[in-house]
């Protein structure tokens, strides 16, 4: 049948394309991690697991790992809590609802580099907007980029600013699928706003939240551009994460094998966490449970 081979051709075509674009670099990176190399054109030298052992023995690796976890978890918690809150407000009917919804989603359209530049412009210790405002009331401002807490905080805040709209959009869609009669039944049962939230809204959003937390988790743990643009891993590696460490090793220290090993370990950790997460919170069951 004509239709059949066309479908097969499309299928094979896309598999080949994915293989070349995703599979190729992936396999190449994993392969690189077993070699010592100074550049992509230089000669490769087989070193076995040495890159892995030295990465795992490196305190900087573990610092980067915990930094990544702290930044990812605090960003996700804030994004989800704020996202659900904002979505619930936007889900209510009020004058100018459409305009406010559009504005709320706007930050998501900003390129990361623009958002980071705006953040730097506001927070710069010498000529920043915040500095001027504080100065006008006679207050000083510490250099946010020279303290671990404030530097991490800035990364988290900018990420919350950029990606909470994504959570808002998903949760808003989820809220609209919850039947209003469930809220009415809860009201007749005597439940106030808080109980309605816990017993109707949150269970109704379960499947949306599982997917949103998973996606945001993956994206935040792998975040490179935002961190590199804001802090470059500083001060003193206090905002170094596994992606920035892999980049630093590969392209600043010209240790391609070491960078590839860090990237591969990071990939394996993430894959393991996702498997456990999906086992704990199966998406299918969640859908049926609604």
């Amino acid at each position: 049948m004509v239709q059949d081979w066309r479908i097969v051709a499309l299928f094979i075509g896309s598999i080949v394309l994915l293989g070349v674009i995703i599979g190729g670099p992936l396999i190449y990176a994993i392969m690189l991690s077993f070699y010592s190399a100074k550049s992509f054109i230089g000669e490769l030298q087989w070193v076995g697991l040495k890159n892995y052992t030295s990465a795992l023995q490196d305190p900087l690796f573990w610092l980067s790992f915990t930094n990544g976890l702290i930044i990812a978890i605090s960003a996700i918690v804030l994004q989800v809590v704020l996202g659900v809150g904002i979505a619930m407000v936007l889900n209510k009917r009020f004058l100018g609802q459409t305009v406010v919804r559009a504005i709320a989603i706007l930050p998501y359209f900003l390129p990361t580099v623009v958002a980071c530049l705006i953040a730097q412009w506001m927070l710069d210790p010498n000529y920043g907007l915040l500095k001027s405002i504080l100065a006008s009331i006679g207050a000083g401002m510490p250099d946010w980029s020279s303290h671990a807490f404030t530097a991490r905080g800035t990364i988290v805040l900018v990420s919350v600013w950029l990606w909470t709209p994504f959570v808002v959009t998903c949760v808003l869609a989820g809220l609209q699928t919850i039947p209003t009669q469930l809220y009415e039944a809860a009201r007749v049962d005597g439940a106030g706003a808080w109980r309605q939230f816990w017993h109707v809204t949150i269970p109704g959003l379960r499947s949306v939240l599982i997917v949103v937390i998973l996606l945001r988790g993956i994206w935040m743990f792998n975040k490179f551009d935002l961190i590199w643009l804001l802090t470059k891993g500083g001060p003193l590696n206090q905002t170094e994460t596994l992606p920035t460490l892999a980049y630093r090793k590969s392209f600043l220290e010209f240790n391609l094998g070491g960078g590839a090993a860090v990237a591969t370990i990071s990939f394996l950790i993430l894959a393991g966490v996702i498997l456990v997460y999906l086992r704990l919170f199966p998406i299918d069951d969640a859908k049926q449970g609604r």
């Binding site: 469930l182 039944a185 007749v188 269970p203």
Partner: protein, 372 residues
Amino acid sequence: MARISLQNVSKSFGGDQGPWAVKDFCLEIEDGELIVFVGPSGCGKSTTLRMIAGLDETTSGTITIGGRDVTGLPPKDRNVAMVFQNYALYPQKSVYDNMAFGLRVRGEAKQEIDRRVRAAAVSLDLEFLLDRKPRQLSGGQMQRVALGRALVRDPDIFLLDEPLSNLDAKLRVKMREEIATLHARLGATMIFVTHDQVEAMTLGDRIVIMRDGLIQQAGKPLELYDRPANTFVAGFIGSPEMNLVDGQFFDTGGRLEVRAGDLSVGIPEKTFARSGQNVTLGIRPEHLVISNDSPLEMTVNLVEQIGAQTYLMGTLAGHRMRAVFERRDEIRAGDKLPIAFPSERLHLFDSASGASLRIAQRSGKIGAKENA
């Protein structure tokens, strides 16, 4: 258990100027009564129920439950329980937790909750389903859980909003019987909303028929059947629908009759009609009789055999007419049958307003707008 009183209850979704979803609804519901609100879609029956539940605010008027004015109170302070058309069970909670939720919210003791949930489960045949989630239940079982959730609360009144509409025909009859049994056993005050006149006739101690936000008539099922207040009620109650023929009323020297084209039907007793008035003559299909003495002849156009009865559609003196007889196998389309109108079964309505001319209309109350 409680008495409910609705005084001039009105609801408009567009402010004080209307349009009115419900207008000047007045009704006294006795303790332990099962009242059915019935009418076509958009007649205001569900809105009235939701106002009693507190889910919709009243625009004007007062609602009292057990002598207590509840007009401005939220649902949780009215001690009402409601069963929804699509059951509205909490999807992530088990059957047990669905039924227990209302009691937990009210801070009942754990043992008391357990006792009540299990008692309700036994009475509704749900003991073996307590651990299931709603998605694992059939429609009938979900409806029983919804009833159970209402039952455990021991509310003053039960409000049922088209609870049987999502069930298939057979299950609907079964659940209807269960609700009737439940009502008889509990003796609770219940309000049941439906658009199905058979449900209304079979369940209701009294029926309230609504249209366009107005009560058309309220009364016992057979009262509505025997003495419909207007043509709307006449057409709504009874299946197949009542035959309605437009004509003119004449009082010629004490002989009362209605003439409609070639048809002339004598009226036996005094009515509120004036000679020359445009009237609508009504007779139910099941009240037509085949009588060889009758000069009236009906030409049969269609015969429907439904088993115990035979439904006919035909033409009589130029008017379309339905008739229902005990099973008659020999009648065929094209037959001509001599038909008589038993005079005690006739209904007479004013053509302009639709109001009955055989029963006295209480002005300002039932069907007030119709008779104005």
